[in-house]
């Protein structure tokens, strides 16, 4: 049986409202509780590790006591105040470091997981070749392609990503040096796949991811996303040995890029001049799916 019998849930906070933390923990606790209750799932331990990168702790001592009191006794709640904004990658790595649990579930705090999410994600790892799985996000469903029968996909979203601990550590976890917060999930997925392992999508594992829509039905982005998205793409293309994608991206942005995107381009060129770029991974291009500006096929 390859299904993990213990899961460590890693949640990295940065200036999140306390109500959002409660929302996340309430739903996660219930989902863990139902998975622990079902003997056929084979899960016997869940640790919820919250790491706070905020300037001032989001969760006070009293809040922490209440969160613990509201949690199922079998769900152990750990809390770390990092006293620094580590970024998603370093924060997640810190929470996963030395994890004794079989798998780590990285979860965004702006989420509300369905009661059956933990169970479905644990079951997604039943096949020993599957090392990572993500869930279906609502209300804005991710358009990336997945195999309708097996779930195989190019990469798994870090908003809700379960990874076998051993495999996570074997690839060195998230790459905080080159991908501190953005596209770090694509990078991790591809490095896992380079080892011949499978990264799958489990559409029955549902999580509400708090995305808002603008008047044109576009998903609202944060101010920094256009910058980080482009910089991350150029770094990914560099690391995964796709100079053609770097060239294409640079050429397109020089003509059509927004101010933020051009700023990212300048930053990339500055790093390039200074030799401050990730080393190319050998044989990386085989997993690097750069298709139509995305990191893999899309369904729509």
């Amino acid at each position: 049986m390859s299904s993990p019998s213990s899961v460590r849930v890693a949640v990295v906070l940065y200036e999140n409202p306390l109500a959002e933390v409660w929302r996340c923990v309430r739903a996660l606790n219930r989902s863990a509780q139902l998975a622990l209750d079902a003997p056929e799932v084979g899960l016997n331990k869940v640790v919820l590790a919250i790491g706070d990168c905020s300037d001032v702790p989001v969760i006070g001592e009293g809040d922490l006591r209440e969160l613990r009191a509201g949690a199922d006794p079998r769900v152990e709640l750990e809390h770390t105040f990092f006293q620094a904004n580590l970024g998603h990658s370093a924060g997640s790595n810190a929470l996963a470091e030395g994890a004794l649990e079989d798998a780590v579930l990285f979860l965004n705090p702006d989420s509300y997981v369905a009661p059956t999410l933990v169970r479905h994600l644990v079951e997604a790892l039943r096949d020993p070749e599957v090392v990572a799985a993500d869930g279906r996000q609502i209300p804005c469903e991710h358009p990336k392609h997945f195999d309708p029968r097996l779930g195989d996909q190019s990469w798994a979203s870090g908003a809700c990503l379960v990874v076998r601990s051993a495999d996570f550590h074997a690839v060195g976890g998230f790459d905080a040096r080159w991908f501190p917060s953005y596209v770090n999930d694509v990078d991790l997925s591809w490095r896992l796949r380079m080892r011949g392992k499978r990264v799958v999508h489990q559409p029955r594992a549902v999580l509400f991811h708090d995305k808002r829509l603008d008047a044109k039905a576009g998903v609202r982005t944060t101010a920094i996303e256009p910058y980080e998205g482009i910089l991350g793409r150029l770094m990914l293309a560099t690391r995964f040995d796709r100079p053609d994608i770097v060239t294409e991206t640079v050429e397109v942005l020089e003509v059509h890029g927004s101010d933020e995107q051009r700023r990212a381009l300048e930053e990339y060129q500055r790093r390039h001049s200074g030799g401050d770029l990730p080393p190319v991974l050998p044989d990386a291009a085989s997993v690097a799916d750069f298709i139509n500006g995305e990191y893999g096929r899309r369904r729509f």
Partner: protein, 576 residues
């Protein structure tokens, strides 16, 4: 003599009172007519075999009755020893009934009078009480107030000696609180009360304004045309309605489900569990009561903070309007919104509704939806259903009443309305198999007006036809559309401010288009005429030609034409 010498009239309130008593076997027993006046019902009750006893404050009335040979006594209902005085009158006789016809509205403390009568009845068996009081909720009084008038009169609804005023609700509360329970009623209806003003548009049912007032009043309850409540009561235990301070959520989310698609139901519940504003309850109407347990099971999988907000209401039969009405009936929120079990909303859905309601109280709150194509997956695949297209801003337009009369442009989960509309008689039309939300929306928007928040917080899932359980045949939809229009046309419809210019623009556009059509039709007619003329010329020419060719002169001149043609060719050759 007092002012109340009304004659008995079978068709009037007195006739109703006597009929209400006729089944209670008053033969041989006393009927006390409290506030009897001229004793209008003495004769008819005597005919039923009852011993009529008139009681009144007015000595002249009592004397007149006594003179007619009818037993009558002077009685002041405000006297502190009322019970003893009544006992003295009854004097050990069996009492069949007590009448309080046009009395309670004249006494400052009707409650104590009714309590005394209840105590009297408690010592006898089968004592009935018949009450007749004027209805201050008659629509004519609403019309008068709208006209700025409150005209007291010598008699009638606003008799100047009335000191208490009753609506159906306050009368019932008073009676129950004093231990009297309604057994029968024969309310006296007057379409035009004494307060009616003939010819005034507020009062005339054929005027638009009059019809509108009728529509509003009849929506509230069915007593708008009742002039007098005439009711018979049995004695029972006194009960006072205790106002329970029930916490009212801001919003009731009514969900209709058949319980067949638990996967999408889980998705919607996740959306609700993730709301940033939790000031809501969920009324989950299961439109197939056999699925109630399954649906409750799905709900109970969720964490308590969501699960405890959900009330599951079973409902069977009928169209889609039936569970919608069941949801309305169970709703407690200040506002109500519908959310079907296969749509999605963002986390600020409730927050946005509340913000809209606080910005524009009493209005219908409306927002936008993105549309996404979605389909159910065949069995054996990982996903049970999946999105097949991007989010598109299909429903991102401001509310336009005129356009909505033509077609519905607002998904059901994109508007919320004040629940008080239910008190005003708003229900979903259960005769409609589809479009029930459209008819409701237009009527509600007509009354409330619409506040557009212009926030996109909903996602309308457009299921592919082959996988949709709601696929509706076009002809059925057309029939329902026609029914909606008929229903909307039965009553006046209010248009919001700004409609005149909007309509004017549309009418202008129609005129411009019509002129263009006229011009094009004129051009087309001219071209056709020209074509017909040309065809005629051509036909004539052909005819003339064929006649010429058939003529003898043409035939005999053939060699000449041949020679001419040869000579012409030879000339052309030389020139070239």
């Amino acid at each position: 003599m007092g002012n109340y010498e009304f004659d008995f009239n079978e068709a009037g309130p007195y006739g109703s009172a006597v009929r209400l008593l006729s089944t209670s076997a008053p033969e041989g027993r006393v009927v006390l007519d409290v506030g009897c006046g001229a004793g209008a019902v003495a004769g008819p009750l005597g005919a039923l075999g009852a011993t009529y006893v008139g009681l009144d404050l007015d000595e002249e009335s009592v004397a007149a009755l006594t003179e007619r040979g009818v037993e009558a006594h002077v009685l002041d209902l405000t006297r502190p020893d009322l019970r003893e005085a009544l006992d003295k009158v009854v004097n050990g006789r069996r009492v069949a009934a007590v009448l309080c016809l046009d009395v309670l509205e004249h006494v400052p403390d009707p409650k104590s009078v009714l309590e005394v009568l209840a105590s009297l009845a408690a010592e006898q068996s089968d004592v009935e009480l018949v009450v007749s009081v004027p209805n201050v909720g008659h629509v004519d009084l609403a019309r008068q107030l709208l006209a700025g008038r409150w005209d007291m009169t010598e008699s009638g609804l606003l008799d100047r000696t009335h000191v208490r005023f009753f609506t159906e609700r306050t009368l019932t509360e008073l009676m129950v609180s004093t231990g009297w329970y309604e057994a029968a009623r024969e309310d006296f209806v007057l379409n035009r009360s004494d307060q009616s003003r003939a010819g005034h548009p507020l009062f005339e049912p054929k005027s638009t304004l009059g019809a509108l007032v009728d529509q509003v009043r009849s929506g509230a309850d069915e007593h708008g045309k009742v002039n007098q409540f005439v009711r018979r009561y049995h004695r029972g235990a006194a009960r006072v309605a205790v106002a329970v301070e029930e916490e009212q959520p801001f919003l009731t989310v009514v969900m209709r489900t058949q319980g067949k698609r638990p996967d999408t139901l889980v998705d919607v519940l996740c959306c609700l569990g993730a709301q940033t504003d939790l000031d809501f309850e969920v009324v989950m109407v299961v439109h197939d009561s056999s699925m109630e347990t399954e649906v409750r099971g799905v709900v109970d999988q969720f964490e308590g903070n969501l699960a405890h907000r959900v009330t599951v209401v079973p409902c069977d039969g009928g169209t889609r309007g039936r569970p919608a009405n069941a949801g309305l009936a169970a709703a407690r929120g200040e506002y109500v919104v519908f959310l079907d079990d296969d749509d999605l909303v963002t986390a600020n859905w409730v927050e946005n509704i509340k913000s809209g309601a606080r910005t524009s109280p009493g209005t219908l709150v409306r927002w936008w939806a993105a549309e996404q194509h979605r389909e159910w997956a065949p069995n054996g695949l990982l996903a049970t259903h999946t999105a097949t297209g991007p989010l598109t801003p299909t429903y991102a337009t401001r509310f336009d009443m005129v356009k909505h009369i033509r077609q519905n442009e607002t998904p059901f989960h994109c508007f919320a309305f004040p629940r008080v509309l239910v008190e005003m008689g708003f229900r979903f039309d259960e005769s409609l198999t589809v479009c029930e939300d459209w008819e409701f929306l237009v009527r509600a928007a007509s009354f409330c007006g619409v506040h557009d928040t212009e926030e996109m917080t909903s996602i309308y899932n457009k299921w592919s036809e082959k996988s949709s359980s709601h696929a509706v045949a076009t002809d059925e939809w057309l029939v329902m559309r026609s029914m909606v229009h008929v229903a909307l046309d039965e009553k006046p419809l209010l248009l919001p401010p700004g409609s005149v210019r909007s309509l004017d623009r549309r009418l202008e556009r129609e005129e411009v288009l019509q002129r263009r059509i006229d011009a094009l039709e004129g051009e087309l007619a001219a071209v056709r005429a020209q074509l017909a003329h040309t065809e005629q010329v051509s036909t004539n020419a052909h005819f003339a030609l064929s006649e010429l060719r058939a003529s003898t002169s043409w035939k005999v001149s053939a060699p000449v034409r041949l020679a001419g043609a040869v000579a012409k060719k030879a000339r052309e050759k030389r020139q070239s």
